[in-house]
Symmetry: C2
Subunit: 439 residues, 2 copies
Amino acid sequence: MPIYFRKNLERMMDVSTYSCMSREELQREYENVLEAFNHCKAQGLNLNMARGKPATKQLDLVSGLLTMLQKPEDCFDGDIDARNYGQLSGLPCARAYWADVLGCKPSEVFVGGAASLNMMCDIVSRAFTHGLLHSPRPWCKEETVKFLCPSPGYDRHFQIGEFYGAELIPIPMTPEGPDMDMVEEYVKDPQVKLIWTVPKYSNPDGIIFSDETIRRFANLKPAAPDFAIIWDNAYCVHEFVGDYIPFPDIISMCAEAGRPDMVYEFASTSKITFAGGGISCMAASEANIHYFSDIFGVQMISYDKVNQLRHVRYLKDKAHTLEIMKLHASVMAPKFQVVSDYLNREIAPLGFAHWNNPKGGYFVSLFTMPGTAKRAWQLCAEAGVTMTNAGATYPYRNDPDDSNLRIAPSLPPVEELEKAMEVLCTCLKLAALEKLLSA
Amino acid sequence: MPIYFRKNLERMMDVSTYSCMSREELQREYENVLEAFNHCKAQGLNLNMARGKPATKQLDLVSGLLTMLQKPEDCFDGDIDARNYGQLSGLPCARAYWADVLGCKPSEVFVGGAASLNMMCDIVSRAFTHGLLHSPRPWCKEETVKFLCPSPGYDRHFQIGEFYGAELIPIPMTPEGPDMDMVEEYVKDPQVKLIWTVPKYSNPDGIIFSDETIRRFANLKPAAPDFAIIWDNAYCVHEFVGDYIPFPDIISMCAEAGRPDMVYEFASTSKITFAGGGISCMAASEANIHYFSDIFGVQMISYDKVNQLRHVRYLKDKAHTLEIMKLHASVMAPKFQVVSDYLNREIAPLGFAHWNNPKGGYFVSLFTMPGTAKRAWQLCAEAGVTMTNAGATYPYRNDPDDSNLRIAPSLPPVEELEKAMEVLCTCLKLAALEKLLSA
């Protein structure tokens, strides 16, 4: 049975203001909040804080991308015509770009299409039908295949595992990253084949894995010879407050620790340029790049190199990319401030919830009163505010505490976001009061 | 045991000039041809007729594509911002564009990324791991899965089947398309799950399936409830001589015949705009589009809609696309003429080979003296001319007659192509003479 990370929740409940109120006080508070809720509902809102979508303002900021390639002679990377077939593993300049961003070698980079998720799914799919580089057999021939799922985590990661019939094992998150004692214990089981991670600004908690956590990942000695760390570095340059935080190269660390082929790192420009219209990459050992070039060669002649070249011309290198990320930050930071302000003002004094204060990524992870997240989500929906489904951040969409909600404040403009946060805070209170009064 | 289509070969051998020569005449001819071959070799050529790659001139013709989207306000399809996530099945304007080109309904179109091959591979992959819409079980749970492979055919189709462990069954091609008597017979076997087709300008034979062949395809009554026709309409608008030849909509024909979910049609702009940098689509019944939207939703948030919009703005509709194809034709036609001229002048009088004279597509399919295709390929390589591997056009790369060679004349400029054809003709002769003299 999985062990969950309850410490914060338990500590918090002790000092809850709601928890100190008498039944009469709670009832009065309930009536006030219900009135506020009905007032919200009456506004007929239609607001969305469900997905990590960039705002129109952010998309406008990178319009320079559109005009990078204008004439035939713009379309060459050296001798290579980006407009024709070839270069399955990506344009040399695009491989060099990602190597610069991630701190690995160009030969360790495979540049793909618009979505890194698609490549992750391809890796898992081929692992099941054919096996990874060191698989004794395809995973579909194993009796049981288990995936470790640091939770709360990214719903689409978990969905891929579920789709292929893996058994999903939740691993609690700590402020340093996944609980590594537990990870190290679990990987002794040869049926444990994979772990999903978002090592920087984890989705949704916004946690940056500590140096010690990363060191322990690189030094894992799993029983399965084909154990895979999916290192989804989706937010590798995505600070919205403060300066870029350097991050070590997991590829060379795994190599130094003697398991060079254990890690598959992913990144994309979906939240640097256009969402779903960018370029993605996989970084891995050269042996893995060769293995998967052969496999991807079955499905592809070559990925969209025109878009690869357009991106490299626009983003140039890591330094220039970080400058562009400062522009995104100028749009993102005020929105996360709104979320923080509302929660601090409306919810903090009541003591029934806690949340992170990330400096990058796309989400605020909120832990509300256990047993009320689903209800709060439903109340939000009734009041016209769409949130990520409660539970979505856990394997099988099952948050055992029914506590976590993922707030995605990037899409709505600030004025809409303020309304949405007002609704959310009201719904969090109402759900908590309903629970306390029904006890 | 598969039956092969030997009629043409047998007929041809009867009238071969080489076959009428005495041993002494053959020996003299051999010495002359060997001298010509050595002369070719001495030139140190490096020419490529291996793949169906568009020429630089063709890529230059469609440069207007590069400047279609210049400003943020260009990036909207109605209310939909092409730069953000959403619309998994494609932008409405892109679905409408493909429906216009293929003659189906927009609701029957799923617009994907740069490669239709990738989507075909996804379909086969998911059929094996999860099953198609009417599969009683995933194909990996079947004892044997058989794919029908009209041959000569497209090597990458066959490779996908081989990769997933299907048994590949060659089906002879006739001037009307695949031998439908044989197809109708084979599909009585419930282990036969799929047939690969290129219905218009088949790769490599350049055959347009006749109305009767298409009617028989639509009216197939396979034993397998999940039998799939892969209708790879890669060359749907790709005439290079003469006017566009109308082609029926297989989706509605299958629906009328009572098996609406049996066919999966594919097309892309890889040979309309940029090779590997275009957009692709799958057309299928609405039920199939729903089924695969759910499945593709596991791996993708949405495909590159910016490139979808860029393409629709540039290509506009079927009528305008056909105008652009006329520009391609002006580059392609002279090259096919060179191939035809050389073969007619150098090879036809010798009577040991025959070939097609396509009016569209990307290939000339050459049947040389049985037992000499591999040797001719090797001689070409020695003389600096890269051809598609002999045998590649057959399942398991095994041409039982060792006769077929695929000529891809699109990439080299005319002057290079002339040299390459001179080499090829010399090598065809030399290989034939070696064979005759060793008999």
